[in-house]
């Protein structure tokens, strides 16, 4: 079984404004991107399950072909930098994505 971290060259999270955290999974080549899309292991539903989110917490979900990337964005519960916010830039929220298992392509 292959991990997403083995296929993607970039997996990152960052603020998109003060109320949103956006996640990018960027593949080095089209083939890996297509394989992960076809496998259906990174979807709105799978992200909600992985992060324990209600569906309305997902603000956007995009498969961005020109960048060979899957991108999703979630609403923060409180705006960035509010007292108690442990990640002002939103840069360390992506770790659960690294271990997503990607099945082999069907032959």
């Amino acid at each position: 079984m292959t991990r997403l971290a083995d296929l993607a060259k970039t997996i990152r999270s960052k603020n998109a404004g003060v109320d949103l955290i956006t996640f990018d999974i960027i593949f080095a080549e089209r083939a890996s991107y297509e394989r992960v899309k076809r496998a259906g292991v990174v979807t709105r539903e799978s992200i909600c399950k992985l992060y324990g989110l209600a569906p309305e917490r997902i603000a956007d979900f995009v498969e961005f072909d020109p960048g060979n990337a899957i991108k999703f964005t979630i609403y923060r519960l409180r705006p960035s930098g509010s007292p108690g916010d442990p990640d002002i830039f939103g840069a360390q929220q992506y770790a659960p994505l690294l271990d997503i298992e990607v099945p082999e392509s069907p032959r």
């Binding site: 324990g52 603000a59 960048g67 991108k71 964005t73 007292p83 442990p86």
Partner: protein, 453 residues
């Protein structure tokens, strides 16, 4: 003009110093304009709320000096947006002052400095609300209430291209802008010289983060963008960097929820039909950008307000039984704060590193804590004295937590520091909203002065 070439040396001027080697290469290419954005809401609410910069003065001065000298030597305009991290009035004044001092220091020949402000008075917003206008919320916010307005210390409106274009039309050689959309800093000179809006805004979109649109990763290096009637080409200046199809397309995603649309005052840049082509080793060409005018002219408002004074404390836990019951340990300490101060009038936060300190409720592994925990405590209250006491009780009382079956009866936590420390006051974002404007320049008064000898 067949094409306009702009160099951008830094994605956030002042936040970390511009790297000079690639900037020199950019200047040697003889661009028509040198521009950078100097602000971001990424830095959190404290700078806007408190009227300060998080970027050090030395770095702001270093970068302004680099750009100003090159701009005057080439005799091309220099444009800065969102001065001083927030684009607040005091930050514009600061950058204008630095420019004056640099002009004196280098005995620069006479030039025209234009600047504009972006702060919006709370009373202005209140009057508009009372006249029945909705200050609409962005990204899930409901419409602005008087209560949230009252909690706001400072508001800035996000300018589009308009005040920059006005100042260019009036002959400004150097422009210091208040809060503005980053792409507009670059789109403005392109539009001023007659290039189509779609290409102009795309130019701004790709240049605004400087070398973040290039690979391999390396920030604070210069990139050069060239706009023509139907295309934008972007080139990395650093010898080791290239603007590739992947790096440029990837940049559309950076810090945005949607890679296809970029909203500015007055319209939306539509990148959903963009085509990317590698035309040289270090250069990518982009065509197919579109621009749609908004039906109603609205500007974005950002606002921040003070929550209170703040103290922080820190403890460690190593006993696995205590770790398994850390919520009860925290609960005990919270109860002690409640006994002293009641339920309201302060805020108390616990961040539990080793369990879910970084991801909070998003952490899937919170049921498998590490063998040791570190707990960061924050106490926030209207006065420093109260914040200190809230934090002191909230931290120290964890030592005295009573867990029925614990073996370690001499103290439940470890202190590296048996004190609580004063932190910067806590602020929060209170406005992420839009306001209708009758006139694009309405909220952005412009000024022009002559500087130099």
């Amino acid at each position: 003009m067949q094409s306009l070439r702009i160099i951008c040396p830094n994605g956030h001027l002042g936040f970390a110093p511009t790297r000079e080697e690639s900037f020199r290469l950019g200047v040697a290419a003889r661009p028509d304009c040198i521009a950078a954005d100097s602000g971001s809401d990424d830095v959190g609410p404290i700078p806007l709320g408190s009227g300060t910069s998080t970027s050090p003065l030395a770095w702001q001065t270093h970068d302004l000096e680099l750009m100003l000298l090159a701009s005057r030597e080439l005799r091309v305009p220099m444009i800065i947006g969102s001065a001083g991290d927030t684009g607040a009035d005091s930050r514009v004044d600061l950058f204008v002052k630095i420019i004056r001092e640099l002009a004196d220091k280098h005995r620069l020949p006479r030039f025209t400095l234009g600047y504009f402000y972006s702060e919006v008075d709370r009373e202005h917003v209140r009057r508009r609300m009372r006249a029945g206008e909705a200050v609409a919320g962005l990204e899930g916010h409901r419409a602005l209430t008087e209560s949230e307005l009252g909690a706001t210390e400072r508001i800035v409106a996000m300018a589009g291209v308009h005040p920059f274009i006005r100042l260019l039309e009036q002959g400004a050689d150097v422009i210091i802008g208040g809060r503005s959309s980053d792409s507009c800093v670059f789109a403005a000179p392109a539009i001023h010289h007659g290039f189509p809006e779609a290409q102009a805004y795309y130019l701004g979109k790709v240049l605004e983060c400087a070398s973040f649109c290039a690979e391999p990763y390396g920030g604070k290096e210069t990139v050069l963008g060239e706009v023509t009637a139907d295309a934008v080409e972007v080139t990395a200046m650093h010898p080791a960097q290239r603007c590739t199809v992947a790096s440029v397309a990837g940049h559309a995603m950076y810090e945005r929820s949607n890679p296809y649309f970029e909203h500015v005052a007055g319209g939306t840049l539509d990148m959903s039909h963009c085509r990317y082509e590698q035309v040289a080793e270090k250069t990518t060409r982009i065509t197919g950008a579109r621009f749609r005018h908004a039906d109603e002219f609205r500007v974005k408002l950002e606002g921040a307000g003070k929550v209170g004074e703040r103290y922080v404390g820190m403890v460690g836990i190593r006993d696995p039984y205590t770790i398994a019951h850390v919520d009860e340990v925290i609960g005990w300490a919270r109860d002690k704060v409640r006994e002293r101060f009641g339920e309201t009038g302060y805020e108390l936060y616990y961040t539990v590193y080793g369990r879910d300190g970084i991801m909070g409720e998003l952490e899937p592994n919170r049921h498998r804590p590490a063998h040791e925990l570190c707990i960061l405590v924050q106490g926030v209250a209207p006065t420093a004295a109260m914040a200190e006491e809230v934090c002191m009780i909230g931290t120290r009382q964890m030592f005295y937590a009573r867990l029925p079956e614990v073996k370690g009866s001499a103290g439940a936590v470890a202190f590296a520091l048996d004190e609580v420390l004063r932190a910067s006051p806590a602020y929060r974002w209170t406005l992420n909203h839009t306001l209708r404007c009758d006139d694009p320049l309405e909220l952005f008064p412009t000024h022009l002065v002559t500087i130099g000898q």
